[in-house]
């Protein structure tokens, strides 16, 4: 074996370009899976550790006027282990540039639930005044411990000393309002203040309004708490529905699904590339294999020798991929750090990574073993003579359409028969192009899909300029009656349980007359009176169809139930829920109490004054900011999209080059003969191109629908119960994906053209002799 090992080493060195493609594929396969697994599993581990160590609650209940008596009643629900009673208020602060920022301040509640992490400052609970501010808001405003912050609440101004900077486990992904989909730490923050500060500085006289519950039965709480609290109950959330937590948990799932889907296709294609490379390499050594056999080497030692080509190179690639993957994980994690507030970020792996490493090595080794099978199992004399003539048969085309066949050029006939005599090679080519096309469509399309969601939501579905959400310590009943001559549309947002119940409280949007909410049904109609309209994501998850009657239970105000007919399915991304008109709502006995005003233009000063004098405060969000915020979210994925695109391109290049090269290697003797007969290089190049182009064309044609299907699956992994993404790819990016794929085929032809230049007629003919 000593000499065979030397041969192995020298073979690898002398044919390093071929081995490099095997190395590259093994390296990339391991890198892409392990790198992304490091991200999602690391995030998962970091989140779990954070949620566990800081005792994140399982349920959150928003209500008004909560008392200790309520807590005692709720505690009796089975499965509850702890309850924390808190008061939250929303205050505003100005950054000196007339920009209003919003802070949610809350009292600490029970220490043992949702314990904040102190980043800097005084120990939690040690001070009676001042505030603990969230780190990200402080950083974006250059605020430090010891600084003072002026906040406004209920027409009162309060100066608070910052006594510490914190993170909160219940606000890992803090957008501050449902109007935004990504965190905006410049405008939204949170903090904790003591009960004394709330009472003495803010003169807050109300009761608590938030319950944080540690429990083992979410559904029981969701059902029982509204019954206990009655009309005071506002909303219920659990870890899966509280956006500040669920977005982080969803992100883990999104990156995991992305990693699995992308890696599966990538590894399949990489295996294809590795197999073809090793096969090509070993087939060029059939005479050496026969020589070894003739010298007396056993089949086993020859098998092991050739299998070790695959083993050695793929192991090396897999090891380097494993070594580099933490770097890729860190790179992707870095992009996520801007969105999520976690005290620790770690990279973690599962045994699956080791499984992938083992699979890549195993496949390469088996490929090498199989590739050497023919020469190994044949008679040495046959392969030593080297003049085996391939068996060929007529193809169906020439039997069925003989006259058409006769019209084909000799080159075309040759290509047809050769391709059909090597169906595996052709199939691999088609699969390679098709898979590469799918990866590129997915790589470009997932980006386009998210951008298209932004354009659709903030350009088509919603056409307002400003969005006012009103909050008041007083009754809101009259806000829409108070403001006169507004050029806008009113919106009441409720939360409701639908029946059959899917375990989630959904958003119900009741809209007044107007054209600023412009969502369209799947049949192209606008929202009209007479029934409810369900968004497509909700309809799919709850199996709702048009014409069906469903029960809506208003869990945010009245607790009343309504039987309503589904009039249509709305093709809208966000928010997922139910739409109905004010008239339909009122016809069913609902009270129209809108909290949101959508404005075509801006609110007049007169109306602003009216709000002020009536003690109604408002939160203003412009659609421009919402769009920018949504684009921030898309950009947060940009690095992952770029990685997918880059890996897709690399794969297409390697797969196509390998297949072209394999086809060339199999026919190089015939090409050399043609050169001797007087064929020019460009004539031979045209011959070599035929199969490559045919394979590329077929692969591209199949790759288009397959790519769209893959993109749809890919995009669906990003959808949540709140937002649904629709697959979309711009014509430009589709053209770019096609150009890359076809360009790679062209490049392959060019590279093979270089090999034709170097084709040594004498060597090729000698090989025969």
């Amino acid at each position: 074996m000593k000499f065979l090992n030397r041969k192995l080493r020298r073979d690898i060195l002398s044919r390093w370009t071929q081995f490099f493609s095997v190395f590259l594929m093994a390296f990339l396969s391991v890198l892409i899976y392990t790198g992304l697994e490091g991200v999602w599993h690391g995030m998962d581990a970091s989140l779990n550790a954070y949620m566990k160590s800081n005792r994140l609650a399982d349920s959150w209940v928003n209500a008004v006027s909560l008392t200790a008596r309520d807590v005692n009643k709720i505690k009796k629900i089975s499965g509850i282990s702890q309850i924390s009673l808190k008061t939250t208020i929303q205050v505003t602060t100005s950054d000196g540039h007339n920009n209003k920022n919003y802070l949610t301040l809350e009292t600490p509640g029970t220490k043992s639930l949702n314990k904040p992490v102190l980043v800097s400052g005084k120990e939690l609970g040690s001070q009676k005044s001042g505030m603990y501010l969230n780190t990200e808001f402080a950083q974006s405003h250059n605020l430090k411990v010891g600084d003072h912050l002026t906040v406004s609440y209920d027409q009162r101004t309060v100066i608070l000393k910052i006594i510490g900077l914190i993170r909160s486990p219940s606000r890992i992904y803090y957008t501050g309002t449902n109007d935004f989909v990504a965190p905006n730490y410049q405008s939204y923050g949170f903090g904790t203040i003591t009960q004394q500060t709330l009472k003495n500085d803010f003169h807050y006289l109300g009761q608590a309004n938030l319950l944080e519950i540690s429990d083992s039965n979410n559904q029981k709480i969701r059902e029982e708490v509204p019954k206990i609290l009655g009309l005071r109950y506002l909303a219920y959330y659990n870890r899966q529905t509280l956006p500040e937590v669920s977005t982080a948990l969803d992100r883990v799932g999104q990156i995991r699904n992305l990693s699995i889907m992308f890696s599966t296709l990538f590894i399949l294609l990489a295996i294809l590339a590795m197999y073809t490379t090793i096969r090509r390499l070993i087939e060029s050594q059939t005479q050496e294999i026969a020589t070894l056999k003739a010298l007396g080497y056993s089949n086993r030692s020859i098998s092991w020798h050739y299998a070790s080509y695959g083993l050695l190179v793929s192991t090396l690639g897999a090891l380097v991929g494993t070594a580099v993957s933490p770097g890729m994980s860190l790179f992707v994690l870095q992009t996520q750090k801007t969105m999520f507030s976690l005290p620790n970020w770690q990279i973690a792996y599962t045994w699956n990574s080791f499984g992938i490493i083992a699979l890549v090595i195993l496949i390469s080794t088996i490929s090498a073993f199989i590739a050497s099978h023919n020469a190994r199992s044949g008679l040495p004399a046959v392969y030593l003579r080297g003049n085996n003539i391939k068996q060929t048969h007529q193809v169906s085309l020439e039997k069925i359409f003989p006259s058409l066949w006769q019209r084909l050029s000799y080159g075309s006939r040759w290509t047809w028969r050769d391709s059909l005599a090597n169906p595996i090679r052709v199939l691999m080519g088609v699969v390679g192009v098709c898979g590469g096309m799918a990866l590129l469509i997915a790589g470009f399309g997932v980006h386009d899909s998210m951008y298209s969601q932004v354009s659709q939501s903030y350009g088509q579905d919603f056409k307002y300029q400003e969005r006012y959400t009103f909050t008041s310590t007083n009754n809101l009943l009259n806000v829409h009656k108070l403001l006169t001559n507004v050029n806008g549309q009113w919106l009441e947002t409720l939360t409701a349980r639908i029946s059959p119940d899917d375990g989630i409280n959904h958003i119900v949007n009741v809209i007044s007359k107007g054209d600023l909410i412009n969502v369209i049904t799947t049949s192209g109609k606008h929202i009209n009176n007479g029934g409810i309209y369900v968004t497509e994501g909700l309809a799919q998850s709850a199996h709702i169809k048009p014409g069906q009657t469903i029960k809506l239970t208003n869990v945010s105000t009245s607790q009343k139930s309504y039987q309503m007919v589904v009039k249509g399915i709305v093709k809208s991304s966000v928010p997922q829920g139910v739409y109905l008109t004010q008239q339909t709502w009122q016809n069913h006995g609902g009270d129209f109490l809108p909290q949101t005003l959508l404005m075509k233009g801006v609110l007049s000063n007169k109306n602003k004054e009216l709000l002020k004098t009536n003690g109604i405060s408002s939160q203003l969000v412009t659609i421009k900011k919402q769009r920018a915020n949504a684009i921030d979210l898309v950009n947060n994925f940009q690095s992952i999209f770029l990685l997918i695109q880059a890996f897709g391109i690399l794969l297409v290049v390697v797969v196509l080059y390998n297949l072209g090269s394999l086809s060339f290697a199999e026919r190089s003797r015939d090409y050399a003969t043609l050169r001797v007969l007087g064929f020019h290089r460009n004539e031979i190049r045209l011959l070599t191109m035929r199969e490559n182009w045919a394979t590329t064309l077929i692969g591209w044609i199949i790759g288009l629908p397959f790519g769209f299907w893959f993109l749809a699956k890919y995009v669906s992994t990003f959808s949540t119960y709140q937002i649904k993404y629709y697959p979309s790819i711009s014509q430009l990016n589709l053209v770019i994906a096609s150009i890359i794929t076809i360009g790679c085929a062209l490049t392959t032809t060019f590279l093979i053209g270089q090999r034709i230049k170097k084709l040594d007629m004498i060597e090729a003919i000698k090989g025969v002799e």
Partner: protein, 230 residues
Amino acid sequence: MIKFQNVSKIYNLGEQEVLALNDVSFEIEAGKVTVILGPSGSGKSTTLNLLGGMDRASRGIVEINDTNLTELSDHQLSEYRRKVVGFVFQFYNLIPNLTALENIGIAANLTKNDANSGKYLEAVDLTSRKNNFPSQLSGGEMQRVAIARALAKKPKLLLCDEPTGALDSQTGRKIIQLLKDASNQKTSVVLVTHNAAIAQIADRVVHLHDGKIAKIVDNAAPMDPRKVAW
């Protein structure tokens, strides 16, 4: 008229130089059969490669009808092989995925003569096998197809590298007969072999040894190929 004037060919094999041909000069007359005879390593194949425009001489002149092959570009050499030369290989080198007729056609097409492919196949008595693939033919049949392929280009120079090397003697004699017949059609035939018996059919025999010409023998009465025995 083909002239080989003071031709040398040196191969660089790493640090070592191998002198395959050393100052070789001879002439080949049009329409005649010339056999280049010699043992392994004598320079036979190198001579054939230089004549066929597949390789360039390191020194000297390879002149065919007043054209010095050593001065031709790659493209011109391809044109030379296309229009002037026909090749017959020891192992036939037929394209496996083309039928016997198509193998002739693909070469004949180079000189726009593929309409007559059947005629050439008929000349080698293989019309009945026209739709057979190389894998369905015997060694002798394949070589006859290879000869038909070479002749279909109407070459002025037919180069044959050990054309009977892989055949039994009876089939070999038929092949030699075909090549001899080809020379009668105003085509010069150069046949490379180490088989001295075959040399008896030649008009001229060039004996090579260690890259040099050992002797040149003109045969006034070449033997009938059917009488050659080996």
